[in-house]
């Protein structure tokens, strides 16, 4: 609508006539400045990608897939990201299993069940504020609660302690995005369900959730990708010294054992002065960004495709 007016030839002609045929230079400069700031914001992304990919190419050219399958090493020519990838994937899966059902459940309560009471408003405020707590503070929570207070169960600074910390970190984001998706489903859908005698749960299960599902899934995927790239809490809950996974161990031992994650590997390599590790860091960043950008872009494109206007 706005665009139709903006680009209407008549409007433009009238405006030019009113301006007395003069070119409004200041307006053009203003528009150019705005455009440049947008381009600068996006251009930095391009510079970053070019720089990182440029630094990473020699490593991939020389070592190929070996970089992805080799374990960490103090020798830059042999060090790989296998443990980092494994750790990150396990962390993300555990976070998904924990945070998604709880987050969606909480969102269903807040949007579908809760009435507008002081308690509901308090819960909503709490969730929004939890989403703004810095990641490193969640690391302190994980250190104090999951690694130390519950150390007997989790095995101290272990994979499961890290996963629990990340799950708590993304939970408020999952709740907020899921609640937004539920809110977008119009009330008439629910009323139709109630009208034929369905109970609250039946309405939610069969009428609201199917429509909200695309939004909920993209929101969850975006939060999981945030967990995948998060480093700060993991530095507090273990994983810096390059944990080595316990080989030939059961699932419980694996979860209670030391671990490392891809962003943590990047962090510790960044701090090494060796030029070989600088190239390795760039290569590891390419792996991390490739996974995250792919996942994020898929989620955002899917959301835009299934974006439903009621």
């Amino acid at each position: 609508m706005k665009a139709a007016i903006q680009h209407d030839a008549t409007t433009e002609a009238v405006r030019r006539r009113l301006a007395g045929g003069r070119v409004d230079l200041a307006s053009y400069l203003f528009q150019a400045t705005l455009f440049l700031s947008l381009m600068a914001a996006l251009g930095i992304l391009v510079v970053l990608l070019v720089d990182v990919v440029g630094g990473a190419l020699p490593v991939f050219a020389e070592r190929g897939l070996d970089f992805l399958t080799a374990p960490t090493s103090s020798d830059a020519g042999q060090a790989g990201v296998a443990q980092g990838i494994f750790g990150s994937v396990v962390l993300t899966v555990v976070v998904a299993v924990l945070a998604m059902p709880i987050g969606v459940g909480a969102a269903i309560y807040l949007e579908e069940y809760a009435t507008d009471t002081a308690l509901t408003r308090f819960l909503n405020t709490l969730v929004r504020n939890l989403a703004g707590v810095p990641a490193i503070v969640y690391g302190l929570l994980g250190l104090a609660i999951f690694a130390q207070a519950l150390g007997g169960l989790t095995g101290g600074r272990s994979l499961i302690a890290g996963a629990l910390t990340l799950a708590v970190l993304v939970l408020p984001i999952v709740i907020i995005t899921a609640a937004e998706a539920l809110r977008a489903v119009p009330a008439s859908i629910r009323e139709a369900g109630f009208g034929v005698g369905a109970t609250k749960w039946e309405v939610v299960r069969h009428h609201v959730l199917p429509y909200a599902a695309p939004g909920i899934f993209t929101g969850t995927i975006l939060s999981l990708s945030r967990a995948f790239g998060e480093t700060a809490p993991l530095l507090l809950v273990g994983a810096v010294t390059g944990g080595f996974l316990v080989r030939n161990a059961g699932v419980v031992e694996q979860l209670q054992g030391p671990y490392t994650a891809l962003p943590t590997v990047i962090f510790s390599w960044t701090r090494l002065p060796d030029a070989g590790f600088r190239a390795n860091t760039a290569a590891a960043i390419v792996v991390l960004l490739a996974v995250m950008l792919l996942v994020n872009a898929t989620a955002i494109i899917l959301r835009n495709r299934y974006d439903r206007r009621w």
Partner: protein, 313 residues
């Protein structure tokens, strides 16, 4: 009438449906309520886990060690002002980058860009916002510091410095500023713009004098939330502002220095070893509590501004 002829079998209980169905409804409701209630437990645990060790620290630390113009935990010097000032230097440099870039991009997207361009670029901003901060830390150290900061600063600058970290933080929060303030500007009703055009105002005048003031709550909220993100940002400063193990009080943006989150990171990496007697471990929680309080206050103020936008239109 009809009521007299109707058999008196239909009671309120019949309308409620079956007993089992109602019990199931209640159980499901309780499960969802428990999920929502978990956020209360998490908030409680955050505060609890921070306050315990933080009070342990504050009762044992010497007051003059707390105000010392240096932060060296191994030497029992916990100059908290040093860290807070460092944090603000980095965050303010970040805001100096993100405010003009973010707002400029937002005005362009909301007022000038064609709908097709806007629809294509908004997701790109979101993707940009999703870049992990550890990547920007590496970028700050390898590109920003040698190629941007070094030529601007007098003399030979150390590789790690506040300016490089601040610029990288600015890049990190620019998409956030752009996205949140664009939402606010886009939400300004079209009638306001049309009224302005009707009075003969130019597009530029309408953008600056009508749209921006109408969306000011949202813009302020965007800036506050971005500032809160900037002071809580960890990996960029841990990698690029340098000073592992401690730092002196400095206002020089070209020099290396410690911030709250960078100090926490280096404490955490080393805190495997000294437990028990050392004050280094509890100091981690004290700084964390301070950071938590600062970001909480900022977020609450930002949230209040966001609510004002919602009420306005």
């Amino acid at each position: 009438m009809t009521t007299a002829t109707q058999p008196p079998t239909l009671s309120v209980d019949d309308l409620r449906g079956s007993h089992a169905r109602r019990r199931r409804e209640l159980a499901i409701r309780l499960v969802f309520f428990a999920a929502a209630g978990l956020s209360v437990i998490i908030s409680g645990l955050i505060v609890l886990s921070l306050i315990g060790e933080a009070t342990n620290f504050i009762t044992r630390v010497a007051p003059d060690a707390l105000l010392d113009p240096a932060f060296f935990p191994q030497r029992e010097l916990f100059g908290i002002p040093t860290l807070v000032v460092g944090t603000f230097i980095v965050a303010l440099i970040g805001m100096a980058v993100a405010t003009p870039l973010g707002l400029g991009a937002a005005i362009y997207l909301s007022e000038y860009a064609q709908p097709r361009v806007r629809k294509a670029l908004k997701p790109v901003l979101e993707i940009l916002a999703g870049i992990p901060s550890v990547v920007l830390g590496f970028f700050a150290l390898t590109v920003i510091s040698p190629q941007v900061v070094n030529p601007l600063c007098p003399g030979v600058t150390p590789l790690s410095n506040y300016a490089a970290a601040g610029l990288a933080v600015g890049i990190l929060i620019t998409p956030l500023v752009a996205s949140v303030s664009e939402d606010a500007m886009y939400a300004v009703p079209r009638s306001l713009r049309e009224a302005s055009y009707g009075l003969g105002a130019k597009k530029r005048t309408t953008s600056i004098r009508i749209v921006v003031p109408a969306a000011v709550s949202g813009i302020v909220a965007a800036l506050i939330i971005a500032f809160s993100r900037a002071i809580g940002e960890t990996l960029i400063v841990a990698v690029a502002s340098g000073a592992t193990g401690g730092g002196r009080f400095t206002l020089d943006p070209c020099g290396p220095g410690q911030t709250m989150t960078a100090a926490m990171t280096s404490l955490a990496i080393g805190s495997d070893r000294p437990r028990g007697d050392s004050l280094a471990y509890p100091s981690l929680f004290f700084i964390g509590l301070l950071l938590f309080a600062m970001t909480l206050v900022l977020n609450i103020i930002g949230e209040a501004f966001v609510r004002r936008v919602r009420r306005a239109y």
